[in-house]
């Protein structure tokens, strides 16, 4: 079965609060995941980078693969880019 709408974001696990951009995405573009149109992006997201699927508060866990991959260092709005500027590793801090 091929999705009617081509996905722009992959949600790996249903527990995840971030998705993965499947190509370079532009601010204002709407997220399509699992064939379903969702919400607009607040900023550009490079391919294979993470986008917040919901509003995330400061010091909340960032969940990808259904597991914690880091902690937010500030509030992150749905549709924002999530990376080292707003995510802190719990180990091997640089």
């Amino acid at each position: 079965m091929t999705n009617a709408l081509t996905d722009t974001v992959l949600i790996i696990n249903s527990k995840d609060n971030v998705g993965v951009a499947l190509r370079d995405l532009k601010a204002g573009e709407r997220v399509v995941a699992a064939g379903e149109e969702r919400f607009p992006l607040l900023e550009d997201i490079p391919a294979s980078h993470k986008v917040a699927l919901k509003d995330i508060g400061e010091a909340e866990e960032i969940i990808k693969y259904g597991e914690t991959v880091g902690v937010s260092t500030k509030e992150i709005k749905r549709g924002s880019w999530v990376h080292t500027h707003n995510l802190e590793s719990r180990r091997w801090k640089k």
């Binding site: 992959l10 993965v20 990808k64 990376h83 590793s89 091997w92």
Partner: protein
């Protein structure tokens, strides 16, 4: 149509290939094995850089385990073992270790069999007769429970943990549900996820073994790389969207799926349990694959994002591209394009295709690395040579 077939061995194991293995005990006689391989192209002649010069007990343990494991691998139907005579892993020590398999073996020693040319001539004769004998053996139905399938990733890119490894994980779960044993390793690429793996362990003891294995890998990485240890997550990884070592490692361990982890198996050792098991082995693909083969893996999956064509001499390796660009750039080397996951193909659809392809490969269809003769054989050592 998931009927699978293979070759039954005297020790009760099943192979999905019926190879004649030509194996040198030590690098000094590699040329003899190569000569036999050229004369008998149906045989699988391998070479390697080991066999002597490393004295530590751990290195000797690995040396014997990998060489005997190569011969014991169920895909091998007969062995021509080429010794020198004065090496650590000499035939007198090695050959008895595979006696219990009942596998046909011809043992030669260059120092006793007239030098390299005469030894090669004897080896050619033996290999030819084994090729003829194995050629007459018929495939028989086998069960998934009889298979050990290993999962590797290498030459990874930012999409490896998003497409190819997720797809291999889905296949892994399917295999475990059918009673197969699935193994993955690369302990350095588990750093930051020990707690995730330990939580999935069958019991507390197995969980503790997982934690210890990953701790050792982390300590070793820091000892060897010092300040550069942070490069285990590299600037290139970060450019690709990885924000933490845990995220990178999750993308790696997802290739094993989500099943219960039953055992931590030492490098090249044979698992005692079925289901999903972990190899305590290195991240370097070539060394890792030799460990899987010595553990008895009959088949491997191998994802790649940058594009490595490497396979294994005696074990079919199904190569899975993480993106369409590398798939198109190296189409002759890659079996499956998981990059289609970002172009509208569903995970379920891709998984079914991978399972169909796997069944055909088990039943004899060559993988790309097999067709291209891209098998590589080398293995891990701990200490430098003396």
């Amino acid at each position: 149509m998931n009927e699978i077939t293979g070759f039954r061995r005297n020790d009760g194991k099943v192979g999905i290939r019926n190879h004649v293995l030509v194996l040198p005990t030590v690098s000094c006689v590699n040329g003899v094995a190569s000569r036999i391989g050229k004369a008998v192209p149906e045989a699988v002649a391998v070479t390697h850089g080991h066999g002597c010069g490393r004295g530590g007990p751990r290195d000797i343990e690995i040396l014997f385990r990998i060489l005997t494991g190569m011969m014991k691998n169920p895909n091998v139907g007969a062995v021509v073992l080429i010794g020198l005579g004065c090496e650590v892993s000499n035939v007198k020590n090695l050959a008895p270790m595979i006696a219990d398999t009942g596998k046909p073996i011809t043992i030669l020693n260059v120092q006793e069999d007239g030098g390299s040319l005469k030894t090669a001539a004897k080896g050619i004769e033996a290999a030819k007769s084994y090729v003829a004998a194995l050629g007459a053996q018929k495939r028989q139905p086998i069960a998934w429970e009889e298979l050990l399938i290993a999962i590797e990733c290498g030459g990874s890119d930012a999409m490896s943990g998003v497409t190819a490894n997720v797809a291999m994980g889905a296949v892994s779960d399917w295999l475990v549900d059918r009673g197969a044993t699935v193994m993955f390793g690369e302990n350095t690429e588990m750093i930051g996820t020990a707690h995730v793996l330990a939580r999935r362990a069958k019991d507390r003891k197995t969980g503790e073994e997982i934690e210890k294995m990953v701790d050792r890998a982390e300590v070793l990485t820091r000892d060897i790389m010092g300040e550069l240890a942070s490069l285990v997550i590299s600037p290139g990884n970060m450019d690709g969207g990885m924000s933490s070592i845990a995220e990178k490692s999750m993308g790696c361990i997802v290739k094993g799926g989500t099943s219960v982890i039953h055992e931590v198996v030492d490098y090249g050792a044979v698992p005692a349990r079925s289901g999903l098991v972990l190899q305590d082995g290195p991240g370097y693909d070539a060394d890792s694959m030799s460990g899987f083969a010595a553990s008895g893996a009959q088949l491997m999956f191998f994802s790649t994002g940058r594009g490595t064509p490497a396979g294994f001499p005696t074990v079919p390796v199904i190569k899975v591209a993480s993106n369409s660009r590398v798939y198109r750039a190296m189409e002759d080397d890659i079996d499956v394009n998981a990059g289609l996951l970002v172009e509208g193909k569903s995970l379920g659809e891709l998984r079914e295709e991978m399972i169909e392809r796997m069944v055909r490969v088990i039943n004899g269809e060559p993988t790309k690395p097999e067709a291209n003769d891209m098998g590589v054989f080398t293995f891990m050592t701990i200490h430098p040579p003396f």
